[in-house]
């Protein structure tokens, strides 16, 4: 697929899942993005369940775009990076806003990546990109499959580069993934959506 400015209008969301070993990669991605990236970025990362504060701050240290833990029913806007809050599942609703929920844990996780991928693929269909990074359980695998089934673009972090490769491998097992990229390649890919050159 050739990159170009049409991409930023083609895609309505980029959804990123990550767990153990993904923190550095996420920080690197966020620090490479411009202030107003044209596509909303939605992140569901496994995190300590009962620590409400601190995670956004840690991610924000190097991030250029502002990171927001959305409130229930908060509208999704471009130029923003959203992070699933501690102890809540994060879903996307038709009409382009978030819902939070305290439903049972999925894959031992709340927020669960499968759930965010699943609900966002239902809303964004072929207009989303799903990215799954390093992680120690299989959460996100089935979610990537639903992104793929709905026609979205799927990218996983190269298992060879992952600190823990269980999660990306689960996705590769379950779905035909479009791209297997290193973090640097993920960054170049994202920047091409915005027509910016990345030098690592």
């Amino acid at each position: 697929m050739s990159p170009g400015s049409s991409h930023s209008t083609r895609y309505k969301a980029i959804v990123i899942g990550g767990s153990a070993g993904s923190f550095q990669g996420i920080v690197k991605i966020l620090s490479a993005l411009p202030d107003s990236f044209p596509i909303p970025i939605i992140m569901c990362l496994h995190r300590l369940k009962h620590v409400r504060n601190g995670f956004v701050e840690a991610l924000s240290l190097k991030s250029v775009p502002e990171i927001i833990e959305p409130y229930d029913k908060q509208p999704i806007k471009k130029g923003k990076v959203y992070l699933a809050p501690a102890n809540y599942h994060l879903s996307v609703e038709l009409g382009n806003y978030f819902s939070l929920s305290t439903e049972e844990m999925v894959n031992n996780s709340r927020p669960a990546i499968d759930l965010t991928f699943h609900s966002s693929s239902y809303v964004f269909r072929d207009k989303m990109i799903g990215i799954l990074l390093s992680g120690a359980n299989r959460d996100g695998g089935l979610g990537m499959k639903s992104v793929k089934d709905k026609g979205g673009l799927t990218i996983v972090q190269d298992p060879a580069e992952c600190m823990i490769d269980t999660m990306p491998k689960a996705a590769i097992d379950l779905a035909e993934i479009d791209h297997i990229y290193s973090i640097d390649n993920i960054i170049s890919f994202l920047l091409k959506l915005n027509n910016i050159k990345y030098e690592s």
Binding site: R52, E69, Y88, E103, L115
Partner: protein, 273 residues
Amino acid sequence: MMTEIDLADIKRITELIKTRYNYDFTNYALSSFKRRVSRILELNKLSVDRLIQKLENPEFLEYFLNEITVNVTEMFRDPSFWRALREKILPQIMVNHKKIRIWHAGCSSGEEVISMSIMLREMEIEEDVQIIATDLDTNILKRAKEGRLPLKNMELNERNYVRYQGTGKLSDYYTPQKDIAIMDPTLLDNVSFRQHDLVRGEVFNKFDLVLCRNVMIYFNQHLQNEVLNKLHESLFKYGYLAIGSKESLIWCDIAGKFLVVNNEEKVYRKIKE
């Protein structure tokens, strides 16, 4: 992954329940409602058609209501919220009132209510407070009334209690018996539990403090607005409303009738009728 349910099928289900039983799920948030329906279909290996047939039976409806609602809760959820109640909100209410009335709307299995009772006991104002706790789901209310909590959750509850900085030990408030924590029954002496539907139910009383936490996240914005109007009406002027830490009033019509008292913990005060 979960079976994907058609919106048309969701509509058939909500219409049936509305006309036959007068419960209205039409304006529940779609993402979680769909997941709950899928879950029921999968747990019982049912097709949508079969589910609709079974819903004709009121006994099955009870089961359905129990499963469709999300009852996950904790004692002292968000310890910093409970500290704010103890240190700021309740003392403020006490200034003007000898007797305080509190409503837990959507109390689930009662963890929030028991937390309140423990807090009031430790503040030594238990006698001055009357608590009403309501939920849509009669099954979960029955559990709440019994004051029995799963023992496996007590570790988490204990951790929250410690972070809340309770003055005692949580273990003083319950007796473990097999896999159950039997809560001190006197904790529920000033509590009355009753079934109440925030969507279809009438405003039934006035309160100094209403807790409606992690309930409206299951509604769409239209319904949140309607329910917030009812909660507003259920408060005395200058009464307090507490919602979940990731909920917000800013998108609601009624926001202007409330003052933000604590934005971090989502406590509001009714300043206009």
